[in-house]
């Protein structure tokens, strides 16, 4: 497979994940949450990972950050970041790797701020611990950082509850890029926010990305949002990757029935009203084979031609 060679812009991969397998080990049986997943992210590239809850996308993010806890276990594969083997890092190396090389914004990141410390104190903390600046210098940089995400530096003295949800999320994003990481992982960064705020934050991330040139691993279930932001994307189902290509290609020409179902789940805002179907209850794909290249740069897991989604007669509740 040559998936790792297809990337946007420069072909120098920042992150390379190969055959990653993660298992949740139970007493009686174990579950494979991520099953032989491979992808790479180039310098300055935005790579999207789409899929529903439980498909393993967050597990991948946590594996990259080495944040997996028992009973989850990386059972195979490799993750390399800028040529370094992430899975072999010592605790001290990991400490530097997290935040300086790779930063992550979690789904409910706005709730991960400490409620009893001001925003300023929390940002200063990053600079004093990771970069070794003096307190005064850190405070100055913290002010700059807030300006970067268009929050008034006077807000450094505010407590998290004094900021709106959107502002808190922006503050968290500012903190994530504080040390100029080369990869930013965004795990559903706007799920809890209103559309207008979501749009503003996504625009801000785009702008920051252009300015600072970091790569992004963007995780969401919102296909429209993903297509708008990402250069390349992959769709996951049940721990397997079912399709990966340039985002525009996936949008224009989704090949796998599951990708089609996900796309169909979002009604369009323009054009005539067409009945959509989505994925009917109970339809499951099993034993998804490895990806195969169907068009240049477009990889799809082979599926049977009579896969359930395409057969629209079976669709219960579908619009007629």
């Amino acid at each position: 497979m040559t998936i790792s060679q297809v990337s946007f812009g420069t072909h120098e991969a920042v992150l390379e994940v190969k055959n990653l397998t993660v298992k949740y080990i139970g007493d009686a049986r174990s579950t494979t949450a991520v099953d032989h997943v491979s992808f790479s992210i180039g310098t300055g590239e935005v790579f999207g990972l789409a899929g529903e809850s439980g498909c393993g996308k967050s597990t991948i993010a946590n594996s990259i950050m080495r944040l997996l806890k028992e009973p989850a276990k990386i059972a195979g594969g490799s993750i390399s970041f800028g040529g370094k083997d992430v899975l072999a890092m010592s605790p001290e190396e990991l400490r530097r790797f997290r935040w300086q090389d790779v930063a992550m914004v979690f789904q409910s990141a706005m709730n991960s701020l400490n409620p009893v410390l001001t925003i300023g104190e929390q940002i200063v903390d990053i600079f004093t611990t990771h970069a070794g600046y003096s307190r005064k210098e850190s405070l100055r940089r913290a002010g700059e950082l807030l300006e970067l995400v268009r929050i008034d530096p006077a807000r450094l003295k505010s407590y998290p509850h004094q900021l709106s949800g959107g502002m808190r999320q922006r503050a968290v994003i500012a903190m994530a890029v504080a040390l100029k990481p080369s990869l930013l992982i965004l795990d559903e960064p706007t799920t809890a926010l209103d559309v207008v705020v979501q749009q503003e934050i996504m625009a801000q991330i785009k702008e920051l990305q252009r300015e600072l040139g970091f790569s992004v691993l963007f995780i969401t279930h919102d296909m429209s949002l993903m297509v708008e932001l990402s250069h390349r994307m992959a769709v996951m189902y049940g721990g397997r990757m079912v399709e990966t290509a340039k985002a525009q290609d996936v949008y224009a020409n989704p090949r796998h029935p599951y990708t089609q179902a996900l796309m169909g789940a979002f009604p369009p805002l323009t054009g005539p009203r067409v009945p959509l179907t989505g994925l009917p209850d109970g339809v499951k794909f099993r034993n998804i084979p490895d990806l195969a290249e169907v068009a240049p740069g477009h990889f799809v897991a082979p599926f049977e031609a009579d896969a359930p989604v395409i057969d629209s007669i079976n669709l219960e509740g579908a619009a007629r």
């Binding site: 529903e52 809850s53 209103d194 559309v195 207008v196 979501q198 749009q199 503003e200 996504m202 625009a203 279930h221 919102d222 296909m223 429209s224 949002l225 297509v227 708008e228 525009q248 949008y251 599951y258 179902a261 996900l262 169909g264 789940a265 979002f266 009604p267 369009p268 805002l269 323009t270 054009g271 005539p272 009203r273 067409v274 009945p275 959509l276 179907t277 989505g278 994925l279 009917p280 209850d281 219960e316 509740g317 579908a318 619009a319 007629r320």
Partner: protein, 364 residues
């Protein structure tokens, strides 16, 4: 376009509306026990839903759409106004709390199907209770059982799921059971408060399709409350936009979202991610809209001879073809300003492009 999509809007609009809300207001007291301050959550809401019509209520969190639903469902006591079901003012009829008769006319479907079903009971129990409480059980046990199975089929579930517990079902299946429970009572109106926002994306469409099927086949009216404009456009015949406790714009869904007249609606429409118009985002335009939104609630009368609004309250202006029943209330709206008839006063009259962002990139 599919045929069934067209029928209901033609049918609706005749006869008594299934649900009519007149001048509904709600204020919440704030501050301590002796404080007289209050916050105005709803103000002068007028909304009617015809028989067999789905009306979507959209707006951001905090705009008051859930408060409206709670007032209409009588989980909250409105401060002023009337709620008419089938032409009867239910606030006068049952003065203190909702009666059983009212509950059998109007049912709710809530956002969280995980919280709205008691985990200790089987599906059978929920539906059976609905039937029993409202006196709709059959004469015999067999008759009741048949009704239960019928309900399950209607919402697209297998009858043998009656014996399952909530944890054995997926989110989509649970929401279908919640809908079946509402249907058991044979209501005229269903209030659905964000019924799909907690479901996995691939099953959302299925639930929307089910709601549409109920409208088409059983003529049930629905108030569909959502923050997702695309789904409102997909499902609802008409869409009403709520901002700061007031309805600011309403119209036939396709027309409203294609030609939004109120700056707030334009802002909402422009914020929806849609790859078909990727790159249409313009921060300058966005900032203008934001300002216009802020101004629209408290702008003063500008002493313009053509201005129909009073100094205090904006009035409803009709937008475009009367057939679309599209109106907006906003001081900034100038009905005469452009041939496109949805220009804002704060901006120069656009030459050939319509005003909204959404329009510019949209394929015809």
């Amino acid at each position: 376009m599919s045929h069934s999509l067209m029928t209901s809007s033609a049918v609706s609009g005749t006869g008594t509306p299934a649900l009519e809300i007149r001048g509904l207001g709600k204020t919440f007291p704030i501050g301590g026990l002796f404080s007289r301050d209050s916050v105005r959550a709803l103000h002068g809401i007028d909304l009617s839903i015809g028989k067999g019509e789905i009306v979507a209520l959209v707006g951001e969190s905090g705009s008051g759409k859930s408060t409206l639903a709670r007032c209409v469902a009588r989980l909250e006591k409105p401060s002023s106004g009337e709620i008419l079901i089938d032409g009867v003012d239910v606030l006068k009829r049952d003065r203190f709390q909702a009666s059983r008769a009212f509950r059998s006319q109007l049912q709710m479907v809530f956002q969280d199907p995980f919280g709205s079903l008691n985990p200790a009971h089987r599906m059978d129990h929920f539906l059976r209770r609905s039937l029993a409480i409202h006196g709709r059980s059959g004469a015999s046990e067999r008759e009741t059982q048949r009704r239960l199975e019928e309900l399950m089929t209607t919402v697209g579930l297998q009858a043998d799921m009656l014996n399952s517990y909530p944890h054995e079902l997926s989110g989509g299946q649970r929401q279908r059971v919640a809908i079946a429970r509402a249907l058991a009572v044979e209501p005229q109106v269903i209030l659905a408060d964000e019924p799909t926002s907690m479901l996995d994306v691939s099953v959302r469409i299925g639930v929307l399709n089910l709601m549409r099927k109920l409208r088409d086949e059983q003529g049930i009216s629905m108030l569909y409350i959502t923050h997702d404009l695309a789904s409102a456009r997909y499902l609802a015949d008409r869409t009403a936009v709520m901002f700061a406790g007031e309805l600011v714009e309403e119209g036939e869904s396709l027309d409203l979202l294609a030609n939004p007249a109120h700056p707030y609606t334009q802002l909402l429409v422009s914020a929806v991610p849609d790859p078909a118009r990727a790159g249409s985002y313009d921060p300058v335009r966005r900032a203008e809209l934001r300002q216009a939104v802020m101004a629209s609630t408290h702008c003063t009368f500008q002493d313009d001879p053509n201005q129909a609004c009073s100094s205090e309250e904006p009035v409803r202006h009709q937008v475009g073809d009367p057939q679309n029943r599209h109106w907006v209330r906003c001081h900034l709206y100038r009905p005469w300003a452009a041939a496109g008839s949805h220009a804002l006063a704060s901006e120069p009259v656009p030459s050939s492009h319509p005003a909204s962002n959404a329009q510019e990139e949209a394929p015809a």
